[in-house]
Amino acid sequence: MRLRRRSDEASCREVSRVLQAYRDGQVDELSARRVTRHLDACRRCGLEAEVYIRIKEAAGRMDGDVPSLPLARLRDFARRLAEEGPQASEPPA
């Protein structure tokens, strides 16, 4: 993926389009350099980049398959049922 304009400076709008691909290492070298310069200079885009990095890293620390929310709730209910017996409260809807 690449930034379309060939000028030295990238705008916030351009950067936001490629920001996640940039963080995933999926942009060409020239575009990566332009994005890096922009992030160093633009606080707003720099903060947004930081948020996406933290989300990506946190997701990377998750083990194994990602359970769907309903499945996670069912598993939690099954665990409580095993631990507490019939007194376990009903799973949330």
């Binding site: 996640q20 691909a21 999926q26 996406y52 990377g60 398959d65 359970p67």
Partner: protein, 74 residues
Amino acid sequence: MVGACFDAAVAQAVGALPEKMRSVLQLVDIDGLSYQEASAVLGVPVGTVMSRLHRARSRIRDRLAVTEISRRSP
């Protein structure tokens, strides 16, 4: 929000994603596949992978913001 608390919030947000977004996030961020590889696994164009990944992460970000606001509210 930091550390284990942040990780737990992200995990919960990921679990709440629609299946198509969750699948892409699983392949790219958890399994470490490239966009091209994820595209091949899912049988969709690379652009679709990028779009779903972008929307998934944006949803997680928005959910984290709501969670933080809720946490700080009295």
